[in-house]
Symmetry: C2
Subunit: 338 residues, 2 copies
C-alpha cells in the first residue's frame, strides 16, 4: 500500500558498523559506555543515513509516547489558540509532542477518541479545556478519580474536583473592575454574562456584584454577535443603565457596536468593560477597559503540571494554580453622566 522506501533500522546500522544492536542502542541512549572508536563509527552511519529510532518500537518498550494531548473546543478561536500555544511551548521545552483535538462543543464521540488515545498510550497525558457547555462525559468523570494524567486548563469543573487545574483569579479581577466602575459614580449596571454553567462566569458575576448587587444579568455565548444582540434586547426593553459589564471582550465589543448604532456614546452616555484583553480591545475606538488574562501562561502552566506529574510517575500531589489578572484601563469607562 505504501511504497515509500523503508527507513534504516537499528539492525541495519548495527550490521554496517559491525556491532550488535545492543551497542547501537547504547550509543544512542548513553546508558552505558561505548568505545569511542565504535561510537564514532556508529554515529557516522547514523548521520549518513539520517537514522532515527522508530517511535512506536521505542514506546512499546518504554511505555511512554512522549506526546501529550490538548482538548479544546475550537483551536481557531483566539482564546484557545493562546492556550494551545502555551501548552505547545512547554511540551516542546520538555521534548514532548502535542496532539491537538477539537472537542467542538463536547461532541461525545470526539471526546471519546481522546480518552481512548490516553488509554492506547498514543498520548501520555491530557490538558483538558472545558467546552462552553461544560458537562463532562462520564468517561472523564471516571478518569478523574484515578487520578489520571489530566489537567484542567482555564476552567474548573465541579464534577472533576480531583483534577489539578490552572485558572485565572476571575473573582478578584471582576471585583476590581466593579470597584473601578463604581468609583466613577455608576449605580445602574447590567451584566452581559457568559454561559451560566461556567465557573468563570459565576466568579465574574460574583466579583461585579460586590459593587453592583442588583445588576441585571443576561447570558450570551461569548461571541461578538451575542453581545450585539443582547444589547439590542436591553434597548428594546428600555432597560435603564449607565454601565455594561461583559464577561468577555468580544461581547463587550458587540455591545459597543450596538450602542454606537443607537447613537449612544461610549463612555459619555454608557461605560463598557470587558474581560480577557484580546488584541481587538486596544484597536476598537475608544479602547476597551478590561481585565487582562494571560492565556499563554495558563497553557504553559497546565502543561507544566501535567509533565511534572508524568515525570513523577503520578499526579498524586500535583496542586492547582491560580494566575493573577490585571486591570487595564482604557477609554470605555468614564464618570457617570448626570
Amino acid at each position: 500500500m505504501n511504497d515509500r522506501p523503508r527507513p534504516w533500522t537499528m539492525q541495519q546500522i548495527a550490521e554496517a558498523a559491525g556491532v550488535s544492536v545492543t551497542t547501537v542502542s547504547h550509543t544512542l541512549s548513553g546508558k552505558r559506555p561505548v568505545h569511542p572508536d565504535t561510537a564514532l563509527r556508529i554515529n557516522r552511519l547514523i548521520d549518513e543515513h539520517g537514522y532515527v529510532p522508530d517511535a512506536g518500537a521505542r514506546r512499546l518498550k518504554s511505555g511512554r509516547s512522549q506526546v501529550i494531548g490538548l482538548a479544546v473546543p475550537d483551536i481557531s478561536h483566539w482564546y484557545f489558540g493562546r492556550i494551545a500555544r502555551g501548552v505547545e511551548e512547554m511540551a516542546n521545552e520538555h521534548d514532548h509532542g502535542l496532539i491537538i483535538a477539537s472537542t467542538s462543543n463536547s461532541d461525545p464521540r470526539r471526546e471519546k477518541r481522546y480518552f481512548n488515545m490516553l488509554r492506547t498510550r498514543a498520548i501520555d497525558g491530557l490538558v483538558y479545556t472545558a467546552s462552553r457547555e461544560i458537562k463532562p462525559t462520564d468517561e472523564l468523570v471516571s478518569m478523574a478519580s484515578s487520578p489520571a494524567p489530566i489537567v484542567l486548563a482555564d476552567e474548573d469543573i465541579e464534577e472533576l474536583e480531583g483534577l489539578p487545574s490552572v485558572t485565572s483569579t476571575n473573582y478578584s479581577g471582576a471585583r476590581d473592575l466593579g470597584r473601578h466602575v463604581r468609583s466613577l459614580g455608576h449605580t445602574k449596571a447590567v451584566i452581559i454574562a457568559g454561559f451560566p454553567g461556567l465557573h468563570s462566569t459565576v466568579q465574574r458575576m460574583r466579583g461585579i456584584r460586590e459593587s453592583f448587587p442588583n445588576a441585571l444579568a443576561i447570558h450570551g455565548d461569548f461571541e461578538i454577535r451575542s453581545g450585539y444582540e443582547l444589547m439590542s434586547d436591553l434597548i428594546a426593553h428600555e432597560v435603564k443603565f449607565t454601565a455594561v459589564f461583559a464577561c468577555n471582550d468580544f461581547m463587550a465589543i458587540g455591545a459597543m457596536r450596538r450602542l454606537w448604532e443607537e447613537g449612544l456614546r461610549v463612555p459619555e452616555d454608557v461605560s463598557v468593560v470587558g474581560f480577557d484583553d484580546v488584541d481587538m480591545a486596544s484597536v476598537v475606538t475608544p479602547g476597551l477597559t478590561t481585565v487582562r488574562q494571560d492565556m499563554l501562561e495558563i497553557g504553559r502552566q497546565s502543561a507544566k503540571l501535567l509533565l511534572d506529574g508524568l515525570a513523577a510517575g503520578s499526579m498524586e500531589g500535583i496542586g492547582s494554580v491560580r494566575l493573577p489578572v490585571e486591570l487595564v484601563l482604557r477609554g470605555t469607562t468614564g464618570p457617570v453622566a448626570d
Copy 2:
C-alpha cells in the same frame, strides 16, 4: 517510574475469553469471520474493561501511525488557527490524529524535530505552512524531491515546487480589489505589503499594480502595529495618496487607526482596503473592504491532499489546489475626494 495501573492487553482479554489472541484481533478488525457467540463474549470483555489496542504495537506491525502533523509559525494566530482547525477537522473525519507544532519563525532546531517525527513514523505525513521568513531548511528541500508525504498550505515555496500545495487565488483577488478602488476614481495609491519573499505578497502586489502601476510599496510584518507604524512613516514623509492597499486586514486596521489619529477620515479622505476578512474587519468602524480567504478550507484541502496521498501509498499524482476568494465591499472605500 510510572505507577499507573497498566491497561489490559489483548493477551489478557484472550485468556479471559478462553480464546487465542488471533481471534481477539480478528474480532476487533473484522478481517475474518468469528463465531457470533465468541465475538459476543469477547466484546463484552472489551467493553467491561474498556480495552483499547495499544497504538504503538499496532503501528509497529502496520507501519502507519494514523497521525499527521501540522507545522505552523504560530498556532495562536488567527490566521494559522483557522488553517489548523480545517486540518484537524479533515484529519478527524479520516480517523487520524493531529500533532501540532509551532515552527515559531523557522527555528531550525524545531523544524528538525518535525522532520524527525516524519522519519520515526510518529506521524505519517505533514502539512507545512510556511513561516513568514520562508527559507525552507535543507532538510525540507531534500524531502521535497522524494516525494515525501508533505503538503504546503497557504503559501507556495519556490524551492519546494515538487510538493502539492493549497493556496488562495491571491493574484485575481488583489486584481479585483485594485479595479474596485480604481473605479472609484483613485489614482494615487500606496501598498502596505507583506514580507517581500512571500509568494502571496508578490501575487497581491502584482494584482494591485494592474490598476495602480506606480503604487508606492512598503513592507510590513502583517501585524496591526506594523500597519500603524508604516502609516506614520508615510504621513511623516508627506506622501500623497488617496487609497491604501494593505496586504492583510491587520495592517489595514493599524493604518486606519493612525489615519484616525491624524484626523483623516476613512473613506472621505482616504480609502483603505485589506485582505483576509478577519473577524475584526466587520467590527471596526467603518467596516473594512477586503478580500475573503477561506482559511478553514485551505486547511481542510491540505489535509485532504495529504490523506489522499497516504491512502494511495504515494504522493505521486497528487495535484495542487487553488481556492477562490471573494471581494467583500464594506465602508472603507469611497469615491476619491476632489
